[in-house]
Amino acid sequence: MADTVRQRPLLGTFVEIGVDGAGPAADAAVTAAFAEIAAIHDLLSFQSPDSALSAFNRDPMAWHDLAPAFRRVLGLSMLLMWHSGGLFNPTVGGQLVARGALPPTGGPMPLPFGQLGDFDMNGNRLRLKRPLALTFDGIAKGFAVDRAVAIVRRAGFTSGWVDAGGDMRAFGNSKLRVRRRETNGSITRLGELSGGAVATSVVAPQVDERFPGLTVSAGDNAPAPGAWTVCARYAWQADALTKVAALAGDADRAALLNRLHGALIAGPAVAGAA
């Protein structure tokens, strides 16, 4: 159990941070980690009209200079898009807007989804070749968790965790007993997390109060409903791979996740049985 455990409302959910230390230094490190998460949110939130992502999406075919974290998340997203054969796709913003899961961009109505060839990159500058809307909702929360972990480690704390409502990462000697909230509200014991990350995404048939997110496909394959839990070394990976898990075919899901350096901890079988 960590000596300092705090929770703040961030990223539209409750973020908990624990570190193996107490006192002003630990408090300052945790406060700085929360601030970093808030900064990532301010940069990459689709919902917030003031974010850098929203500014990009209002005019996606013009050149934009990207902030370092934006550039990093974009790079990771494109890598994963390539290696997952397009199952992970950060260009599905248009489809999410059309289905009411995300607010309108404020620009012209974007196409439902795009492909890797739509990205036109020049150093830290980006434009899209077609009117698409980028969304990092499948990766940014995990990325924010990783950045928060980096902040507290840099401050000298060797063990701890960050839990952002379903996306969590433990480091050092911290061990987290992880349970999963199923789609029917029941809770299943999953196991213990240490030295890595775990993420759960719920594929709901439609958007509602309890399941505000939507997983959509950029192809013919429909996402398999239920809760998908994946572990990986980094939280951004675990977060993004839950979407790959939901969209992959039953036959090659496990192998694909392994190839992408993740592992399926639990699919929707438990929820489906209840």
């Binding site: 929770q7 539209g12 409750f14 406060t31 379903g166 349970r179 999963r180 909230r181 299943t188 109060e209």
Partner: protein, 183 residues
């Protein structure tokens, strides 16, 4: 739910009723902790507890769109060397599924310094359906079972919305503007 689980809920019916009132609960900070975190430079915190009048409640609702339910509001004035640093307001929100106590630090001109959760309680009957409920009771007395709340330290799954707290902060900012700034 399969046959096993149904039997199991029946067997565990008594303790379940008691525990399901607070299925997932966690205490994070005391008010004193939160004061230190939100105002690390402050030396004194002057008690400034407010009693909100009916008219003020209405004005708060009109300004923030959120209803002020309580008559009393815990407020402290943070100072260092006689310098006014800001307000610390302790507030509660009751959602459909949760009961949350939090502290918000506000600068004298009404900007949010930070929001810290003091305690978080989920009031859902989730555990009634918990698949591994029986395991929870192995080797535990009923006293031990009540501590299960703390045992469930981390839940990965459907993201819980923090909108109640966001609305609460909006209401506290309206209270600041209408009551604290004028007073």
């Amino acid at each position: 739910m399969n046959q096993f689980n149904r039997n199991f809920v029946f067997l565990a019916a008594l303790p379940t009723l008691a525990i399901s009132q607070s299925v997932y609960a966690k205490d994070y900070l005391s008010v004193a902790d939160a004061r230190k975190i939100l105002f690390p430079a402050a030396q004194t915190f002057l008690d400034h507890k407010l009693t909100i009048t009916k008219d003020q409640k209405k004005a708060i609702k009109d300004l923030s769109g959120v209803r002020q339910r309580w008559d009393d509001q815990l407020v402290w004035r943070a100072e260092a060397d006689g310098r006014f640093l800001g307000w610390l307001v302790v507030d509660e929100v009751v959602g459909k599924h949760e009961f949350i106590t939090y502290a918000v630090g506000i600068t004298p001109d009404g900007r949010v310094i930070g929001v810290e959760i003091l305690s978080y309680r989920e009031t859902h009957g989730y555990q009634i359906m918990e698949a591994d409920w029986r395991n929870q009771f192995k080797g535990k007395t009923i006293d031990g079972a009540f501590k299960l709340d703390e045992d469930i330290s981390n839940i990965s799954g459907a993201t819980l919305s923090c909108r109640n707290v966001t609305d609460g902060v909006k209401r506290v900012l309206a209270l600041h503007q209408l009551v604290l700034m004028d007073g």
